[in-house]
Amino acid sequence: MTSARPKIDFDAKIPNNVDLAGDRKLQRALERWQPNFLDWWADMGPAVDTKDVYLRTAVDVGRDGWAHFDHVPMNEYRWGVFLSEHDPDRRIAFGEHKGEPVWQEVPGEYRADLQRLIVIQGDTEPASVEQQRFLGATAPSLYDMRNLFQVNVEEGRHLWAMVYLLHAYFGRAGREEADQLLARNSGSDDSPRILGAFNEETPDWLSFFMFTYFTDRDGKYQLGTLKESGFDPLSRTCEFMLKEEAHHMFVGTTGIDRVVRRTAELMADHDTEEVAGAGGIPLTMIQKYINFHYTVSLDLFGNESSTNAANYFTAGLKGRWQEERREDDHQLTDDAGHVDAYKDGQVTHNEVPALLALNQDLRHEYINDCRTGLKRWNRILAKAGIDAELTLPHVGFNRQVGAFAGAHITPEGRVIPESEWMAQKDQWLPTEVDKTHVRSLMHPVLEPGKIAGWIAPPSTGINDKPVDYEYVHFH
């Protein structure tokens, strides 16, 4: 390939541990893709104009390479390509290829399936950047703005990670799919993102924290199953992404912590649950946001019983959460499992072959994980002496995908007629009034160390910097 385009100094611009400088194939693919990515970032990335932001950049997979902080202009962020350490002895842990050495190339037989899995995962990464594009303008503090941008650049890097796989292993078809990842846009009428949940705008910071708590956690579980993949480059890519994803969930968890803490303070100060008038977010409203984001995220796990998931498992493409720690034969050909079901107006279970119950299995791992956040927030409430609890709604509540789609089930799990649902749903899910109230609180606070009134300040800063550090510089 000769081209008039100036050559990119790959190792300098793109931190990597995949020998980019020595790989003509990758270079050629990235030469074309990288400018398109930068255009996309300019059009669809954070809309707030900043000079530079105190960001962490991954420059290596080791501990040191991981802790590289500096103020950088966002468009000069060095998105890197990293795979976790290579284990030459790694073997496929499950399915019909169990025990065979993992694949370093895409087996042609599974090209289409693997490509699909990577494209679907890859599509969610830039989607969340698009969804959160305007949030910077209403950041409750510079600390929060910085966290938002950190999440955004890392989601951008996750896109790079998936594009790397497509470019390095899927030939021309992979390059075309990589282009499509930039051509689809969240909320676009013509070419929306693949998964419905990623086409909703994230309109306010409460939604952002809920998203990073609940929806990024779905990402964690998807990545966790892909980390088990027999296709080693995918496995290693996902393992590294999981570390970054943990930070996103930290942003969500502590974000909701701080909202709850502030609400508790206001309740104590004003001796009322109705803290809206005092510029806070009432607990009932927080509960509604939990209800919404949790159930939308449950939908992302797909149908309770899934032949796709079974095929992926048998083929060795996508395992279970912590596959290797499980004590069974890792093939499941003769096992049975239970899946949630909704029959004749009753919430019940169906017994199905275990292979068909893998989505349900993963969803349940996820649900258990979500509970830890609820415990945390309730501890905050208890400490503040407030006699109220936040809860996770029933798994059948407000579902659009799977066995409960179309059913009317209360957060407590009671099946009710549609009329009753219509009459009561405003008690359970955010209403226009709720959303308007939350939006009305969203005013930017750009002074270092200052914080908006609806949220408590963080307990510590980033990378041992103080909370009032100037995390973001403006022009």
């Binding site: 194939k25 190339e105 042609g108 037989e109 090209r111 292993y169 899927f170 030939g171 021309r172």
Partner: protein, 584 residues
Amino acid sequence: MTVLEEPVNDVAADTAESARSEAVPHVDFDTGPERYRHWRFTVDGPTAWVYLDVAEDGGIVPGYELKLNSYDLGVDIELYDLTQRLRFEHPQVRSVVLTSGKDTNFCAGANIRMLAGSSHPWKVNFCKFTNETRNGIEDMTDAGQTWIAALNGTAAGGGYEMALACDRILLVDDRSSAVSLPEVPLLGVLPGTGGLTRVIDKRRVRKDRADVFATRSEGFGGRKAVEWKLVDEAVPRREWDRVVAERAAEAAGASTRPADAQGISLPPLQRTEADGALTYDHVRVTLDREARTATVVVAVPEMTDDPAALHDQGAAHPLLAIVRELDDAILRLRTNELEIGTWLLLTEGSTEHALAADRLLAGHQDDWLVAETTRYLRRVLKRLDVTSRSLIALIEPGSCFAGPFLELALACDRQYMLEGTFEEDEDATLPSGAAAEEPAVVVVTDAQFGTFPMGNGLTRLGSRFYGDDGEGGALETIRARRGEELTGGDADDLGLVTDAPDDIDWTDEIRILLEERASLSPDALTGMEANHRFVGPETMETRIFGRLTAWQNWIFIRPNASGPEGALRKYGTGRKADFDQKRV
């Protein structure tokens, strides 16, 4: 095809089947007149007399006796060889009389015990080869060697189908000899080597009469057979020899073949074989059993476009040698390597050499040997068209897909052409092993525009761009670029190749393609490919290879034919088949 023969012993048939499915017999297509066990022929002036005289104990595999002049694959391999010898070694022959060397009957068709005891692939391969030989006989008639069936006794099933391939059918009128297609009433299968099709398409028998005929096991003889157009003449015994000789002389008289043509001899092919890999002088086949692929490399050496060289060198001439070797390689792979599901076709040599072959063929069609070589290549290409394997052409630097050799690529299901050259050593693994510094090119010539029609009557380009033949259409655009050396980019733009990856993509694209292909259902691929290859108009040939064969192969696997209670297995046991009566 098929037959009236003695009872099938169920136990023997079962044993034969299980034994056969374990070990597919290795089939060899080498033979020659001195080795024939089932045929004799004499050449008398412009007429060749061909006698079917099957050796009962000469079956190609054990387990049955070839009674009543019934045949199996071995008998047909000899017939194919015989047609080739008449074409090349006896070019002065203008008419061919096909008759029986037995006193009692002409031919009872394909051997029923062989069929009942054969695995499905064996039956299918056998029928396909038989069909190709029948088509070759019709092709000879078109080329001035007119075949006349002289049925000196009953011709049943495949025996009558053999006669149907001839231009004219004479039946001895002795009040007992008849022609018949007893497959449906007696065996629960079809007269599947062209019988059903040729009766209505070629002989124009009315469909209701064809229905009566094909369900009447004893068939028809004498005047009725003539009246229904099943035969051309019913000849009384006493006039038989005279009339047959007259008809042979008439046919010879109508031919324009040169009387003084000097034949060339077809010596045995030089071939070495090791674990399925075949190496000829110009064609090399290697197998990757794990990947289930065969790589077929056709190396085109230097040659001149002078027909005198073809006459001088005969079978040793590179072009004729390549065609023979390719024919043999296709037949062997097809019959002996059932699990090699994908064939990669490559060429190697200078484009200039390939174009010399093109000029030789294009410029000298009035030379009988050039014409015969062209026809041979045409049939070999048609063999590829009906081969139930995924065919993929890899067009790499050092290849010579030009003129007639470009047809090899166009016969494939897909064509991949390397754009540019292999830049780095580590990538430079040409399957052909050739070192090449110049980018690959292909050259379109007149060979793409009529010399090598497919079974559907269209050229391979015409099939590829079916309907796009108007002004400014793809065919016209390509035609305008005849003789040009087209690069990967050009070929891609013109639609001559599926894709033209560069060296960075090449290895991965091809590897993934092949692995992906190997993971698909072989049956679905066979069906899909056969459907895609034959676009557009139907001909008698496509109806035989498509409709008739597909129905026959379906019936073959149905319990009503091949199940333990099926007609094929119950025939001759004295017991009736027990049919599943549902019509599907």
